[in-house]
């Protein structure tokens, strides 16, 4: 039996339907504290609905969603306030404390955003906006981070670099992270565990734990096999 204080998010027999359309039937899963979980699945399978259930913007029709800790979300499209500068956007609401200002300066340097501190969102590139958004999450006090395809609107190079920046920054802060993505490479590269969803009514068809020791040629082969096994599950 798991200790309940180790659990960050728990779905118990969650049903979710919109009028006649049944999206989830008997959805069960548990996410432990400080775990990095990716949720992959075909589009329309309800990935974002899972995040909305966790964040409390949707209530399950039946069953229960238990969440321990406060939540912050990074969206697919920028949710930075256009009328605030980078600095003001990051030190927003509860983020604005003395201690956080130190963290802010440190991260600003680390993410190479120093020259853009006083810029406004519309003066930044898409990649930089997403960086600022990630930084806003990292500065504050939060237990659970929800990532709703945060890298999907970026070009290839930006995606790789920002992903790396994020993973590096995450190593220092132990937080529960739930990543929604349709990019299997991204899921394999970033997370410790992958939940694969199928379509209508959505359930978890596979739950893969990743140990991060895929080194050498054998390791590469293993990753390659893993990727194609996920793809084949998603396409059938």
């Amino acid at each position: 039996m798991q200790n309940s204080s180790d659990i960050s998010v728990k779905f118990e027999n969650v049903h979710l339907s919109f009028d006649d359309f049944v999206l989830f039937q008997e959805l069960n899963f548990t996410i432990k504290k400080k775990e990095f979980v990716s949720i992959v699945g075909p589009s329309g399978c309800g990935k974002t609905s899972i995040l909305n259930l966790i964040a409390g913007y949707l209530a399950p029709s039946e069953g229960a969603v238990t969440v321990n800790g406060n939540i912050r979300t990074v969206f697919q499209n920028s949710s930075l306030f256009p009328w605030l500068s980078v600095r003001e956007n990051i030190l927003i609401g509860k983020n604005k404390t003395k201690g956080n200002t130190e963290v802010y300066k440190y991260l600003l340097h680390k993410l190479k955003l120093e020259p853009f501190e006083n810029f406004y969102p519309n003066q930044l590139s898409g990649g930089m906006r997403q960086k600022v958004e990630l930084m806003r999450i990292l500065v504050g006090e939060t237990d659970i981070i929800l990532l709703d395809e945060p890298f999907s609107a970026l070009d290839y190079i930006n995606r790789i670099t920002i992903r790396n920046d994020f993973v590096n920054a995450m190593k220092e802060l132990d937080k529960t992270i739930i990543l929604i993505t349709h990019d299997i490479d991204e899921a394999i590269e970033m997370s410790q565990r992958i939940c694969v969803l199928n379509k209508k009514p959505t359930t978890i068809i596979d739950d893969i734990g990743l140990n991060k020791s895929y080194s050498g040629e054998a390791g590469q082969q293993q990753l390659h096999d893993l990727k194609y096994s996920i793809i084949s599950k998603l396409t059938t």
């Binding site: 930075l80 306030f81 256009p82 009328w83 609401g93």
Partner: protein
């Protein structure tokens, strides 16, 4: 570059007004209308000089400005908070909007008889008419603007635990400020038009009454002077709103 642009603009504007005055002068010179009904530019100039040296001219302007400012402030401090509250909390308020629309489509001038009955002659009926003219268009546009704020912004506010004050000052007000200033500008235009008519019947002073008074005394040259004053003041006041627009960094939503 800026200086050249300034003189270019000045040239075009003066040329345009020059043409207008010439047409006016020609019509009056040809005596299409009798002199008392269509004063010539020189006559207007002479009475204008007389007017700007009289105390009454300034007191009329001040009366009109005071009424419009008072009415407008009442509208601002009622329509904006009310519109924000409705926009935020009443997600389906179609019937309420219909009521506001009903009043919006009634010409504010239709209230003049009631305004005089309720508030007698003086400042109050004019102020009442200003409120009736500006409240309904403003509240409708505030409701619409609040509903246009992207949902994700409210999620950010919730996740970062905004205080009620931050919610209003840092999210809602800046998110709607450009739309707000534009509708204030439009409402002010309506009010400026309406106050003249309101003062013609409901007051003993102000720019509207001055025109009416000049007409009664068959001093149409004075009436024209007041008409020009109204137009010039309207442009100047509108420029204040335009200036505010250039100074706001509104919701240039990041794509």
């Amino acid at each position: 570059m800026k200086v050249i642009l300034f003189f270019k603009l000045l040239f075009y504007r003066s040329a345009l007004f020059g043409i207008l005055i010439s047409v006016w002068w020609i019509i009056s010179y040809m005596k299409v209308f009798p002199e008392y009904a269509f004063p010539s530019p020189n006559n207007i100039w002479l009475s204008f000089v007389k007017l700007v040296n009289s105390f009454r001219f300034y007191s009329d302007i001040m009366y009109s400005l005071y009424r419009i400012l008072f009415g407008f402030l009442v509208t601002i401090f009622t329509a904006i908070p009310l519109g924000v509250l409705i926009g935020l909390y009443l997600r389906s308020s179609k019937s309420l909007i219909t009521v506001f629309n009903f009043f919006r489509f009634i010409s504010p001038l239709a209230w003049i008889p009631f305004a005089i009955l309720w508030f007698q002659i003086g400042d109050k009926p004019a102020i009442f008419i200003i409120i009736m003219a500006s409240f309904f268009p403003l509240i409708i546009s505030v409701i619409a603007a609040v509903r246009n704020i992207p949902e994700s912004f409210f999620r950010v506010a919730k996740e970062y635990q905004f205080s009620k004050r931050d919610m209003f000052m840092k999210l809602i007000l800046p998110a709607i400020n450009r739309e707000l200033i534009t509708s204030l500008r439009i409402c002010f235009g309506i009010s400026w038009v309406v106050i003249i008519a309101a003062e013609m019947v409901g007051s003993q002073d102000g720019l509207g009454y001055a025109i009416w008074d000049a007409r009664n005394g068959l001093k149409l040259d004075v009436a024209v002077c007041y008409i020009i004053t109204i137009g010039v003041l309207g442009i100047l006041l509108d420029n204040i709103f335009q200036y505010c627009l250039t100074k706001t960094r509104g919701n240039v939503y990041a794509k």
